[in-house]
Symmetry: C2
Subunit: 338 residues, 2 copies
């Protein structure tokens, strides 16, 4: 089969590799119904993370189970499954507390931008549907695997409650999913910070009540002005840069909460500053496994449509164009069809 390999900055290739096989008895092999390019894939693509050797790309996935290892009991060949990008055993103490992304056996999924992929820790990472879902739900089910699960976690970590005033920093796919999550959690006001018309439109469709186009100090001033000088109850930081992180901190009211899901790149905090800011901070890789059953049900019941975040669909052989389109911000998120 052919699969997606990153060789170095902007050097993405779709090339022949051997098909994956069961390595450990806890593995499963799945045939992907769809996969996609993640914003975090752009870090190494742009050369901001080192690429020391060719990397098998892709960690968002759903599809049909082809084969399972001898120890796998919760899924079987022929079932449709969605899995978390963080692989976990779902039985260790951290998993039991709902933090599967800090599982004692945590691995990160790789190699999913391909027709077939190996999923380690299959029992702990995969959730099967009762039936094979209709084709039109595949994008939304794929979204649950990471981008929507991560947006949901951002809202969860930022403690969004019914009636909350929420600010979303970052209008990438995760930020837009954060808007949808806050809406689903009953937020009273959802302010999306975005300067791009297509993203603003999608944010409004997902439930944003307000758009703020300013960023940095001007953006913070605008949020303060809109909240009677107070700041927001909950702020979702969905970027990971220094500017966006401090924008998020400054938009939050004292006693409010920041959920940060963009992997911080070059961000440092001064302890005394954080102390006097007096804001809850919670971040990390999303424990998607905790949310998978509920979010899959919301999709299967057609209550939400996170798959709208995919504004570009390509045959997987054109994966390099998917990366280019996202890198150049021509696309929000590219779905790849194997």
């Amino acid at each position: 089969m052919r699969q997606t390999i990153l060789y170095g900055p902007r050097d993405i290739r779709f090339e022949e590799r051997t098909e994956p096989v069961i390595v450990a008895p806890t593995d499963a092999i799945i045939r992907l119904s769809a996969t996609c390019v993640c914003g975090s894939d752009l870090w190494p693509y742009r050369g901001l993370n080192d690429v020391k050797e060719p990397m098998a790309m892709g960690h968002e996935y759903c599809g049909i189970v082809e084969e399972v290892g001898s120890a796998v009991t919760s899924v079987r060949p022929g079932q449709f499954v969605v899995g978390s990008f963080c692989l976990s055993d779902n039985t260790c103490p951290h998993c039991k507390f709902g933090f599967q992304s800090s599982c004692e056996k945590r691995e990160f999924m790789t190699g999913a931008q391909a027709p077939l992929a190996r999923v380690p820790l299959a029992d702990g990472s995969l959730v099967a549907t009762a039936e094979i879902p209709p084709e039109d739900l595949i994008p939304s089910l794929l979204a649950v695997s990471d981008v929507f699960g991560t947006g949901w976690y951002a809202a969860d970590a930022a403690r969004v409650q019914p009636g909350s005033t929420v600010v979303v920093v970052g209008d990438g796919a995760v930020g837009l999913m954060g808007v949808l999550s806050a809406k689903q959690m009953g937020a009273g006001r959802i302010i999306a910070m975005s300067r791009h018309k297509t993203r603003q439109d999608l944010a409004l469709e997902f439930g944003a009540t307000d758009i703020v186009t300013e960023r940095g100090d001007a953006g913070v001033a605008q949020i303060k002005q809109m909240t009677g000088g107070v700041g927001a109850d909950s702020v979702l930081e969905c970027v990971g840069m220094k500017e966006s992180m401090f924008q998020a901190l400054d938009c939050t009211r004292p006693g409010g909460s920041i959920g940060y899901v963009g992997v911080p790149h070059g961000v440092e905090f001064d302890g005394e500053m954080l102390f006097f800011a007096q804001k809850n901070m919670m971040g990390g890789p999303a424990p998607v496994r905790r949310f998978l059953p509920d979010l899959m049900n919301l999709v299967l019941q057609r209550k939400i449509n996170p798959g709208k975040v995919f504004d570009l669909k390509l045959p997987i052989a054109d994966v390099a164009e998917g990366y280019r389109a996202m890198d150049e911000r021509r696309a929000i998120k590219a779905l790849l069809q194997p």
Copy 2:
């Protein structure tokens, strides 16, 4: 009258000053029943914070109202009151959310190591008792003003729940009050990290179930060993140094919470490290005003005795000895009798 003035490192004087007067219509003047030396007073005393001009010391206070400004309506002369070290109007949005320590009009109390003190924002900062309390409850009522209120906030910020496993980093007065608070909140296990016999004894009396004498990496290893490799649900950081802050972080399980109430001195956090640690962090000056009525009631009903933290009682004229005893760790906390 004579009051306590810090002139520079270890130069504390009790000297003649004019009596305080009403300056703003929202002020009250109180005659102190007792006051005390705070761990945070030791920062400038030790020269770790600059002392640019002579400082009127003391921010923990309770006593009898002598006089109130024309705008004060909630307390009147003759009443016994306890006040927060953070002065607040208790009406602004931050106060309404329970974060009076980030009040839009926040001031910090000063000049309370004296027989008389001016309390700005009296309506928002003071809580009166129904009757003049018995003399033996004065130390515990004084403790509510800061040291106990701050320990309580540490446990609140660290989200201590019934049954929680709690670690307290720091065996100073605030840490010991954190132990008492965690006990009162129903924690299942309270591990106090302390190397000093007298403090260990008091921690056990306040409700600690375990003592760990190791610190740093050895201390973290011990906590991990005691919690099946998991870490604690809630960790109270009651020091503010780099070593204690990272000890607190490392003792917390993923998804667990750190409440930090020691003002950080020279502490820097790397964003990526915090992200992957995946721990709730909440700190800041304690919003004592939120807790004052409930904590005063617990004391008045003799359900708790936080005043035991005062292991040295001195006439206020001997205030310099109070500072020395705390600086040399001969005393946990010195109460001063005007």
